[in-house]
Symmetry: C2
Subunit: 708 residues, 2 copies
């Protein structure tokens, strides 16, 4: 097979993206890093983040190496077999393994690059605020864009080059699994780190000693700021890198293996065009993102959040236009039936993107301080700690309904247009402008850090207020990103589920003829699947709670052993708190990571691959409920607290405020650890199922050891 010229679009877009990221990096680094104290604080944050990343990447290295070896030596039913057809006989185990390592290293590289600029941008953004709000905004936005562009650029270059060398989706599958392994560690580890520090700092500093947010006397302040970088920048970046690549591979696999696309049989050339179509659309989406980012020009007068949203809208429009243009090019050489279907698939991608934006905005509605849910939650805080929790929990559960309806609509429309491949294309479309989304998202932690540095660098109340203003826009972007990320991950894993079953049937026809809930193994698979996200959330919440407990002890110990810390005469020992957060987060992510790899394999061995399919389905559905509930409840508690701190309902220091802090603290691990980690869990489990599928065929011909 020859790779057509059109695939180069994706490669060029990827290279452009990296170039632009480098240019933004230059723009950020040339700015003034502020006064000595600010540089000192930024230095602490940088050092902490680097320490964490070094330790994290080291452990990750072992993990990736172990899985790589497993992939290499995995017994397989394909050797000397006439029963099984190897899906893609061209791809050898070691080739897939190398793609896996490239995926892992690429994801680590993108995370490092984005985070490195993030920790340089914070102090410069703070200093920029002393010149003008607009300048502060620009620096933070450019800093955040580096993450967004690096993620998408690396992903797209990786996918297109690998596919160019070996034009086979199995290669991309290996790459995707590598990205996922990294995302699992970065998202869970980062989430535990950031909330250990945040919760610990709040529980002792704010509640016991009445220190303000980001007070330099609080020994956990720096750890908290480090957490924003490793959790919200690097973690979210690797999460979306993961979903992004997974959506591409799911669609490619389906295009390569589905017997029929909706009702039509593809010619060989048609199948080839369909297989690269997802990659091309992602390239198109990246161009749309680049244009969208270039058009984000905030004038410095109104709400900076609007500028970020405008970027998202523009990217969407550009995407729709460019997708149509490239579809027009790609239909050349297709027969009439295939051409019509390609247009429908293009429509699916656009529908997916629109659905993603709608999902993002429902998250925004449920978490905005000026909307009913958050307002009601703030009012509930007047009745005490327990009532604010009940209110948040019930609104969190209610907030699952609108996005569920949104996803169902998107599924129905895209299925009607293009069958399961249409659904997969919706996932691709939803993630196509992920460059814009991640850029907007990474802006948040940078201004959050900038605010902290302004506070610690004594830039004065005016500058802190400016930074606060910029920060509030970051929170909206963050809420939208989370809704978006969950929806995208959900559609992506559904697409992976379809591709998994197609792959199984391709290896041995009839392996998953039906995923029939009336058959006991499939039912049990679904049962286990529904329970796993609950177990996973429980482990992560417990991790934060236990680790925060250690943090609390350390902060108290420092205050008690050295009273000069509280008076500000001597600095607190930041390295100890960073050390606790780092070690704790790594220790606590061992069991969740093992679960996400081992449980799917065990289900497949015992109950068979059809049960593994229903296991994934169960996990996807219950994971969706838990992820949305925890993200939205957490976000709303946070904003309810902020709204009260703005002077509403009595403001700071009241019992209402204290109750709202309880809500926020409960919400912290909900929204920043457990909730968003579920995305990664789902993708990792789905990819594990696909990667180990050949191995699982060894057990009862894929029917599992326990046959009923």
């Amino acid at each position: 097979m020859d790779v057509p010229f059109i695939l180069i679009v994706a490669l060029i877009a990827g290279i452009l993206s990296i170039a632009m990221a480098m240019y933004f990096r230059y723009l950020v680094l040339k700015e003034d890093p502020g006064n000595e104290r600010m540089q000192e604080v930024a230095g602490y944050i940088e050092e902490g983040a680097k320490t964490y990343i070094k330790v994290q990447y080291k452990v990750l290295g072992f993990f990736v190496a172990a899985l790589a070896v497993a992939m290499l030596f995995l017994p397989s039913p394909f050797e000397d077999s006439t029963t099984y057809t190897r899906l893609f006989p061209d791809v050898l185990n070691w080739e897939q393994m190398i793609a896996y390592i490239i995926g892992a290293v690429g994801s680590m590289l993108a995370g490092w690059l984005g985070m490195y600029v993030g920790i340089k941008a914070n102090t410069r953004a703070a200093q920029g605020c002393t010149v003008s709000t607009k300048k502060g905004f620009d620096i933070a936005f450019f800093g955040g864009s580096v993450m967004g562009l690096a993620v998408v650029g690396v992903a797209l270059i990786g996918v297109s080059v690998l596919y160019w060398i070996i034009p086979d989706p199995m290669i991309v599958l290996g790459f995707s699994f590598g990205a996922s392994s990294v995302a699992l560690f970065m998202k869970c580890g980062g989430g535990i780190f950031t909330k250990t520090a945040d919760v610990g700092a709040d529980l002792v500093g704010k509640a016991e000693y009445n220190l303000p947010e980001d007070d330099p006397r609080n020994p956990a302040t720096i750890a908290d700021n480090v957490g924003d970088n490793v959790g919200d920048i690097a973690g979210m970046g690797s999460d979306l890198f993961d979903s992004y690549v997974a959506s591409i591979i799911a669609a490619m696999m389906l295009a390569a293996t589905l017997p029929l696309i909706r009702d039509i049989t593809l010619t060989e050339y048609g199948r080839f065009v369909y297989t690269i179509f997802p990659v091309v659309l992602c390239g198109v989406g990246l161009m749309a993102s680049l244009l969208g980012i270039l058009f984000i020009k905030w004038k410095g007068s109104d709400d900076p959040g609007k500028a970020l949203n405008t970027g998202t809208y523009l990217s969407t429009l550009f995407f729709a236009a460019l997708a149509a243009l490239f579809t027009l090019i790609m239909v050349i050489g297709l027969n009439g039936e295939e051409a019509t279907m390609l247009w429908k698939l293009c429509a699916c991608a656009v529908i997916g993107l629109l659905a993603g934006i709608i999902l993002g905005f429902t998250s925004d509605y449920f978490t905005r301080a000026d909307r009913k849910p958050t307002r009601k939650m703030a009012e509930a805080a007047q009745e005490g700690h327990a009532v604010v929790i009940l209110s948040g929990f019930s609104y969190g559960l209610l907030s699952v309904v609108p996005p569920a309806i949104g996803i169902i609509f998107a599924m129905v429309f895209t299925y009607l247009l293009g069958g399961v491949f249409g659904v997969a294309m919706a996932a691709v479309g939803m993630l196509a402008i992920v460059g814009t989304i991640v850029s907007n998202d990474a802006y948040g932690p940078i201004v959050d850090n900038a605010r902290a540095i302004a506070e610690q660098g004594d830039l004065g109340d005016d500058i802190i207020r400016t930074a606060d203003h910029l920060d509030s826009a970051g929170n909206t972007a963050k809420a939208i990103t989370k809704g978006f990320a969950i929806g995208a991950a959900n559609l992506t894993v559904l697409a992976l589920l379809f591709s998994f079953t197609t792959e199984a049937n391709d290896i041995n026809p009839g392996t998953i003829e039906y995923m029939d809930l009336l058959s006991l193994n499939v039912l049990i698979g679904a049962f286990i699947g529904v329970v796993v996200p609950a177990l996973f959330s429980a482990l992560l919440i417990r991790a934060v709670q236990r680790n925060a407990g250690k943090m609390v002890d350390e902060i108290r110990r420092q205050f008690e052993s050295n009273p000069k810390i509280l008076t500000g005469e001597e600095p607190a020992d930041f390295s100890r708190t960073i050390d606790i957060a780092t070690k704790g987060s790594l220790r606590e992510l061992v069991i969740p990571s093992i679960i996400s790899i081992v449980i799917p394999i065990v289900v497949g061995i015992l109950f068979g691959v059809a049960a593994l399919g229903s296991f994934l389905t169960g996990a996807i559905l219950s994971g969706f409920v838990f992820a949305i509930m925890m993200s939205n409840a957490g976000g709303a508690w946070d904003n309810a607290k902020k709204w009260i701190e703005d002077g509403n309902l009595g403001g700071k220091g009241t019992e209402t405020h204290k109750a709202s802090i309880t809500g926020d603290t409960v919400g912290d691990p909900f929204k920043d650890t457990a909730g968003p980690s579920i995305n990664t869990l789902l993708v990792v489990m789905s990819l594990t199922a696909s990667i180990f599928l050949g191995f699982l065929m060894l057990f009862g011909n894929g029917a599992g050891l326990l046959i009923f």
Copy 2:
């Protein structure tokens, strides 16, 4: 068909049970109701409970009448049709409707009888404590047994008489749907009532005015006591009545319609024996319960909880022995294959019962103050309100895993023995000794009320401590019952799911050939199903929170408008608080009840009956997770608070105690409103699906209006 002599076992057991209930009623009523003040308080409680029940039954009357009319006039595809075979041509719509009304009235009757004795027993148990602890225990236990025996007796008489008159499972299905409609109202309404009062009383009385529990000055005290009766006695009773009858009908339907039981084809006589086997085993179980209850003789020296547990163990043993005896009788006339299978089915029932007991004890483990989870939660309270919530939430989620494994094991074993009918028999077995379980459970609220009456009747600290001692045993029983009830409901609805699909295929072969998750409508059905328990929980928690807010306002208003209430010079206005709880609970249950009837019908109309099946599956699985999580987290928070109140970790009045109260208050609607109501939701939705199945066949031949 002739009804064989053996069915009379069930009828006799039912009559015996009612007779014994009446005897216990007599034993309770002849006791001394205590001093004037106690009788006055008991009078208030009685009046409040009766008011609630009258209003509740009135609304329920309209609801039942409306559904009865719908059942009567439902268009059906059976008229003039050659496509459909009516499952049981003997049963006419109006006959099923009458069975429905009998089921509803029977459930209301049993609830009324049990609750009536409960509200008479409380003051007598308090007075009994002044004679001896044992006397107090006996009165409370006899009082509680009336509920247990009435529930099972009415259910069994209803089922066996109806089946005697028209030997057709469709009749029993109508009866079961009637019981379910009532349970939905009683469980949700009672749950909202009891927690409105409890949370309201705690938030103002305990937290703001530092009044002790059950203080007569607190205007919500009586409403709180009324809530124990309407929520914990009448509500739990109707819930288990509902599951009990549903487990019988699920098994009967399967026996009547399954083409094969595991691998064997039944003779006509064999099918008949199999169809009445569930009823006979329930009769046997009731006898075992009666014997178990008679053997509960607490000597008054050690932990009264042990006496209750001994009753459960003995009932289990008696059940196993009697079940074997009656199987020995029933195999007469069966061929060898059928006889062997009947023994296997008997084993399934025993396995089900054992699984139920194990489930109960895992709930107990996760909620007992002397076990690790609750102890850790209490320790977490030392770190503040937020940490105790996080700890409870994560333990609640973790506690889902062991019972899930238990249910999966039970499913695997019983499926291997008897196929889906084996699973249905496990549900029957699990619920067979429900008489004992409900008796133990209803003991709890009676001693809880007795304690309140002792406090308000000035019986002195010694008597209050005695009542407290009895109360702690009640809490253990309650925890076990909840785990048991959730497990039983779970297996029952699974059995109903199987019977629903068999029924569908019997009407029109191939309607649900597969419930294939790879088909979009089935996948969407499962998605909606997974979301519904979350939505339902959200609505119920919000209901409690909103209603408790009104209660708080009323309590504050009373204290402020009349300062003499706080000094004890003038009594509080109890009727106003009862009125708020009553009206609020009825208003708030409208939407959840409509949801549970309407959503399954809408799913069936739009996406077809196969999707309705996967909808039920999704709801069962996610409902299990939510129900266990909320029940166990709530129970553990409650016990952590009590453990702290016993003087641990600083005891009452400390910050730790306050944090533990927050946990308890959050847990209240979790464990007593939303969590246990999910059982009823699942049963109602499953029965709705079965009852409306004929109607749903009108839409695209059961494939739904939206055909993909």
